[in-house]
């Protein structure tokens, strides 16, 4: 199989990830942060080391700022539902995933409003101006993706962080597509809440995600309450992160696998990963652009304006049909709306969707050549 759906989840994982998961099941089988016996303490230490690794990778103040979540979606829900009150206003980009838009639709029922600001590809001044225009005195939170999961367009989140701090608001960044692929530092960027999928660019197992705080004193309302192994006489959830947001038994095999994935990213360096993947996506863009039956929707992907994600269509054919043809040739791509109807509306592809290609550091250029040949053999529809 030629796997080109790394925006959905990365495959393959570095071998160390599987080994870490297996080791967790064999050697770290006790509940962390609960017992005082040796294996529980060792497991707690292993979980703590994963927090340390994430804090180092993302420039967070310390391991206490790293909260494990089952997904990026859950992390986004925790931030939005944990800090917004009736009457508050939110600004989002016009390319958001349903992981942002659906919670906001639910929050609208509770009197929380939002405005979508337009991202102008390749022009961060225009983008900034649009976001400034969308903010008002009730804006409490800006939530935006760091890069479109469909078209790879990047959003200047560092500049947006500065903007919303001027307004006394906070910024929550959906780093589902960017974590592990580009360097991100909470200390340098001003991002207040960073939400990451663990199983994409961080190469962890599915079922893992992270919420990382810039300030450990920043207290959100909880989505879930329960046992934390500490302060158990109190009927209330503890105040301090990360345990405040991590009730119940943690996903230790997933967490240890995630740590191995982040170690891989740290060894490679996000800069190198970004350069590598952008080289591949630019190469593919150049090949596809020569095929008369192919429709592309963005300018050639350039650093630093794009992430290594590319959408296309074959003229006259629904995207799902192209995906089926490629699947029969054992090429895995993602078709349809990618859970991001807003991005498709923006780019005029809401009706047909697109065929999305997303390589990883393990993708070989020869595999992109095979894809190009397979696409070139598809006759355009009527």
């Amino acid at each position: 199989m030629i796997y080109l759906d790394n925006s959905a989840t990365t495959y393959p994982k570095p071998p160390a990830v599987g080994q870490a998961v297996s080791q967790a099941l064999r050697q770290f089988g006790a509940n962390p942060g609960r017992g005082g016996f040796a294996m529980s303490m060792r497991t707690g230490q292993a979980v703590y080391q994963c927090r340390e690794t994430a804090a180092r990778l993302f420039g967070a103040p310390g391991p206490e700022c790293v909260v494990f979540q089952p997904s990026c979606t859950q992390a986004l829900n925790l931030v939005m539902k944990g800090c917004l009150q009736p009457g508050d206003h939110v600004v989002v980009s016009d390319m958001e995933h349903n992981a942002v838009m659906r919670p906001l639709a639910a929050l609208k029922e509770r009197g929380i409003s939002f405005t979508a600001a337009a991202v102008t590809p390749g022009d961060s001044d225009a983008t900034l101006q649009a976001f400034r225009g969308a903010m008002n005195s009730k804006t409490k939170l800006l939530v935006c993706t760091q890069a479109s999961n469909v078209f790879g367009l990047r959003v200047p989140v560092e500049r947006l962080a500065a903007l919303c701090h001027q307004y006394g608001a906070k910024i929550c960044v959906d780093a589902a597509q960017s974590a592990g692929v580009i360097p991100i530092s909470l200390a340098d960027s001003g991002i207040d809440y960073l939400c990451c999928a663990g199983h994409k660019g961080l190469f962890g197992p599915m079922g893992t995600g992270l919420l990382i705080f810039r300030d450990s004193g920043d207290k959100l309302a909880t989505l879930v309450e329960g046992g934390t192994g500490t302060q158990s006489l109190s009927p209330l959830q503890p105040d301090d992160p990360p345990e405040r947001y991590n009730p119940g038994t943690q996903n230790v095999p997933g967490i240890l696998g995630l740590r191995a994935g982040m170690d891989f990213v740290l060894r490679q360096g996000p800069e190198k990963i970004y350069r590598d993947e952008m080289g591949k996506i630019s190469y593919l863009y150049g090949r596809l652009a020569k095929l008369p039956q192919v429709e592309l929707y963005t300018p050639p992907p350039q650093t630093p304006w794009f992430m290594p994600v590319l959408s296309f269509n074959v003229k006259g054919l629904p995207s799902e049909e192209v995906g089926s043809i490629l699947a029969r040739r054992d090429i895995a791509v993602r078709c349809g709306l990618h859970c991001a109807p807003a991005a498709h509306t923006k780019m005029g592809t809401r009706e047909r969707g697109t065929v999305r290609v997303s390589p990883s550091i393990f993708t070989r250029r020869e595999e992109l050549d095979v894809l190009t040949r397979a696409v070139s053999a598809i006759a355009p529809g009527k």
Binding site: G33, G36, M41, Q231, L233
Partner: protein, 75 residues
């Protein structure tokens, strides 16, 4: 004489505190603490020597201290 144990709010802060003290040359060990009447069960740091200095360093580094216990020394 019992073992001095600094009571902390979570296992994460206990481990963070332990590493911070080690970097300053103070040996500290994370231990499960028996339930107290104030907060219930939790984690603390056993500091064999220099517990006063250790507490001071933890506070300076914004690690919340819930209290101190003297635990029975286990032979």
């Amino acid at each position: 004489m019992g073992k001095p144990v600094i009571l902390l709010s979570s296992v994460t802060y206990a481990m963070k505190g332990r590493d911070l003290l080690f970097r300053r040359g103070i040996r500290a060990f994370v231990e499960r603490i028996p339930p107290t009447s104030q907060s219930g069960c939790g984690y603390g740091l056993y500091v064999p020597q220099g517990v006063e200095e250790a507490e001071s360093l933890l506070r300076e580094n914004h690690i919340k201290i819930l209290g101190r216990a003297e635990r029975e020394a286990v032979p």
